[in-house]
């Protein structure tokens, strides 16, 4: 047996109140793509931060090619050939590509020489990139290329990738995988962190699964079904949301020929958008972030006003009505950003329940608030959606992302909407909570509510949506029935706006 490139032995790291990693051990071989799987909060990030020298383990040791390895800071880890592509890109928007790359290197050459090397590496690995463009102007896929090239310029032995595909179109994922496969063929090991199981099955040679900070199993992904891996990850048997066949009712929400400029300087204007949802139908809207999702949500929620006739709710023009008036008529929305848009971070769950529920739940009388009714409404949300919190008096900020998401979705669902619009309903939520949220949306549709689900998670849309449309640079494609739609077709509908050329390597 060859010496593994990196061997982790009994790594433990505890934070006050929580053990992030509990005696985790596994090996990464030379030239191996090793997957690290786990739910949010399973301890994946803490583990890689220890390898990269950002966090010191409390106990346990690491061996790099058989020699003891204990990086005290990222610089030391980089010197030993460990490179990392971060989940939230660690880039500087105001600086250009070459400057960003220089910041991640120990002894960067002069900018002009560096630019030449960037061009060289980007061509070798099929990652087109102009070294003098400002990073703030790049797409998500291009930004990731900056990070990858920054790593590649240091000839890493081990490349750590933290959820690299969460922001990419299917075509961009394709390019990335070609690059990673080429790296593997050159002998570079890759530690690939993800919870997207199909990707791991397609790419990785071995997988380690973490749950609640413990190593709960290892497997060869290509020989293990995605379902088995998911159940190892979650620790329970997964419920697939059920979709009862149902007939759709009359038209609930209708947008025709809508064009609006974006309220923000970096936003995307909506161009000639047509959208129609019938009662009981779930319409899924896909597309890479920043293609008009926020603006579409704004138009539907009433944050962006339009011509009265452009938006119709059950044949009633509502384009000039604000959010509260629309809520009264039964059009409810749950925006993407949990803290700050869907919920006020420093206010209690009770107060947050009041903020959107006051009109439909009658939580307000003659300008006075009915606190006891509000509190029981909040308690009902907590009970029905299994929100893990000590009670409704806790601040929204104190909840974990998944729990708060369950709360904000539950808050709208329990108001019996006629039309419910959600943006990224399961973003950053673990698998079991995501399944619960999807089931709630489907149950709502079964009772005759029209649901519009804007999401970047294609698997989610395929699972719950009856029809699918894609947003691309503010244009909405014609909807198609999801039943006869393949992932490739979806990718094409999304326009693959960025870097369509698949790497030729």
């Amino acid at each position: 047996m060859n010496t593994p490139l990196l061997s982790l032995q009994g790594l433990t790291k505890a934070y006050p109140g929580v053990v992030a990693n509990d005696s985790v051990s596994f090996d990464i071989g030379e030239g191996e793509v090793h997957a690290l799987l786990g739910e949010n909060g399973a301890g994946k990030s803490t583990l890689v931060k220890m390898i990269y020298g950002l966090v010191k383990p409390d106990s346990g040791k690491m061996l790099l090619r058989g020699a003891a390895f204990a990086p005290s800071e990222p610089r030391a880890a980089r010197a030993d050939g460990i490179a990392m592509v971060f989940q939230h890109f660690s880039l500087f928007d105001a600086l250009n590509v070459a400057e960003n790359i220089a910041l991640g290197m120990e002894k960067p050459p002069a900018l002009r020489d560096l630019a030449a090397r960037i061009r060289e590496v980007s061509e070798t690995y099929g990652l087109p990139l102009d070294p003098f463009r400002t990073v703030g102007d790049l797409s998500a896929g291009e930004r990731q290329r900056v990070e990858i090239i920054r790593c590649l310029l240091q000839d890493p032995k081990l490349l750590i990738m933290d959820e690299p595909t969460s922001v990419l179109t299917p075509q961009e994922v394709e390019i990335l995988f070609e690059t990673l496969k080429k790296l593997r063929s050159e002998g570079t090991s890759i530690l690939y962190i993800s919870h997207k199981l199909e990707e791991i099955r397609a790419l990785c040679d071995a997988a380690t699964i973490l749950r609640l900070g413990k190593n709960v199993g290892e497997c060869v992904p290509s020989e293990t079904s995605a379902r088995d891996m998911a159940e190892l990850m979650v620790g329970t048997v997964l419920q697939t949301p059920e979709r009862a066949g149902r007939a759709f009712g009359e038209m609930a929400l209708d947008i025709s020929g809508l064009s609006v400029p974006s309220p923000s300087a970096f936003g995307t204007a909506l161009k000639n958008v047509h959208l129609a949802v019938r009662k009981g139908e779930v319409l899924g809207i896909g597309g890479v972030a920043g293609n008009g999702q926020d603006e579409l949500l704004g138009v539907l929620s009433g944050e962006i006003l339009t011509a009265a006739d452009a938006v119709k709710l059950m044949d009633r023009p509502i384009g000039r009505l604000g959010p509260t008036a629309r809520r009264r008529l039964g059009l409810l929305t749950a925006p993407e950003e949990r803290l700050g848009h869907a919920a006020a971070p420093n206010m209690s769950l009770t107060e947050n329940a009041l903020l959107t529920g006051s009109v439909r739940e009658g939580l307000e009388r003659n300008g006075f608030l009915r606190w006891s009714e509000t509190q029981s409404f909040a308690e009902r949300i907590i009970a029905e959606f299994d929100v893990r919190t000590p009670g409704p008096e806790n601040a929204a900020r104190s909840l974990s992302g998944g729990n708060l998401q369950k709360f904000v979705i539950g808050r709208e669902v329990l108001q019996r909407p006629e039309v419910l619009v959600v943006n990224q309903p399961t973003w950053g939520v673990d698998a079991s909570a995501a399944a619960a949220i999807r089931q709630a949306l489907l149950d709502l549709a079964a009772k005759g509510t029209a649901v519009v689900c804007i999401s970047q998670d294609l698997d989610e849309l395929m699972e719950i949506a009856d029809s699918f449309a894609a947003l691309n640079e503010g244009r909405l494609s014609a909807p198609r029935e999801t039943a006869d739609l393949s992932v490739e077709e979806i990718g094409l509908m999304m326009g693959g706006a960025h870097g369509m050329e698949v790497a030729h390597v």
């Binding site: 890109f89 500087f92 928007d93 105001a94 910041l103 991640g104």
Partner: protein
């Protein structure tokens, strides 16, 4: 009204003197803000530098030692700000305002014995031939060394930010401190150093007022120059040469309006007195219409999360 009493050569020479305190404080604050820290205590650090420089010059008889003491005094006061905001993670706006009030009070206390004293004069550059040239000699070669230091600092800061790795790291820390931390840069150490540099520059600027421009000590003698310097950095879009331009513009209009007042122009004094502020703001607002923007992490506290 007698405009012929105004000597253009003297005007330009005194314009440069009037601009130097703002220039020094401004270029220091620019570096601080580029690192992502908003220090509103410039006025307090200036007045502290003014009294430190004045006292040491009077006691030792050496203006050079005085300027060194001013820089040290300003830096020491800024160290207090650095400890509050970088270590104790206090709010930068509140700490900066407190620093200004503290500096004003401290300087009044320290300066009690120095009111009405005339300090030893700061020697002017005297280069044979060059300094004796007509017009040019008086404008370019007839000043004290600190004035040239101010201009040299602008050039040095500009070149450092643009061409060196240290400058790149400083900008990176100001742009996105979390990313800089993730790459292994010491955010707090870099910011503390920037704050100290800003404090030293403000101290020098203050001493320039009490030793060269006015030369004497009175309580609160900086009279808002620190605030002008702060505003200048913003209107100059965090660009060193624009700080120089703004400072000279402000100094220039100040000197011109004083001369006009002396010449008895028939414009009410109040309008003349407000003209430097109006002209400087107007010009810099027009200049800052381009797309440059503040460092993205400006004013945000950094705490290394695990």
């Amino acid at each position: 009204m007698d405009l012929s009493a105004i000597n253009p050569v003297l005007l330009v020479a005194s314009l440069m003197v009037a601009a130097t305190p703002i220039l020094l404080a401004g270029i220091g604050e620019l570096v601080v803000e580029k690192s992502g820290v908003l220090n509103l205590g410039v006025e307090g650090m200036m007045i502290t530098g003014a009294i430190c420089g004045f006292a040491v010059t009077v006691e030792t008889g050496s203006p050079a030692l005085g300027f060194v003491a001013a820089a040290v005094g300003g830096a020491l006061l800024s160290l207090l700000f650095a400890v509050l905001t970088q270590v104790a993670l206090a709010n930068q706006v509140a700490s900066g305002l407190a620093l200004t009030l503290f500096g004003l009070g401290l300087s009044a206390l320290m300066g009690q014995g120095y009111v009405g004293i005339k300090p030893p004069s700061t020697p002017k550059l005297d280069i044979p031939v060059l300094s004796d040239l007509p017009v040019v000699g008086r404008i370019l070669f007839g000043h004290d060394l600190v004035l040239y230091l101010g201009i040299a600092l602008v050039a040095a800061v500009w070149a450092t930010l643009k061409y060196t790795r240290a400058g790149l790291i400083l900008r990176a820390v100001g742009e996105n401190h979390d990313a800089a931390h993730a790459l292994g840069y010491k955010v707090i150490r870099i910011r503390t150093l920037a704050i100290l540099f800003g404090g030293a520059c403000a101290g020098l600027g203050g001493a320039y007022i009490s030793l060269v421009r006015v030369p004497q000590w009175t309580e609160g003698m900086t009279a808002g120059v620190g605030w002008i310097a702060l505003a200048l950095v913003v209107f100059a879009s965090w660009k060193p040469w624009r700080v120089l331009l703004g400072a000279y513009l402000f100094g220039g209009v100040t000197v011109v309006q004083l001369n006009l007042q002396a010449a008895g122009v028939a414009i009410p004094v109040e309008y003349l007195a407000m003209s430097p502020y109006l002209v400087t703001i107007l010009v810099l607002v027009i200049l800052s219409a381009d797309k440059s923007r503040a460092p993205a992490s400006l004013g945000r506290s950094f705490h290394a999360a695990h």
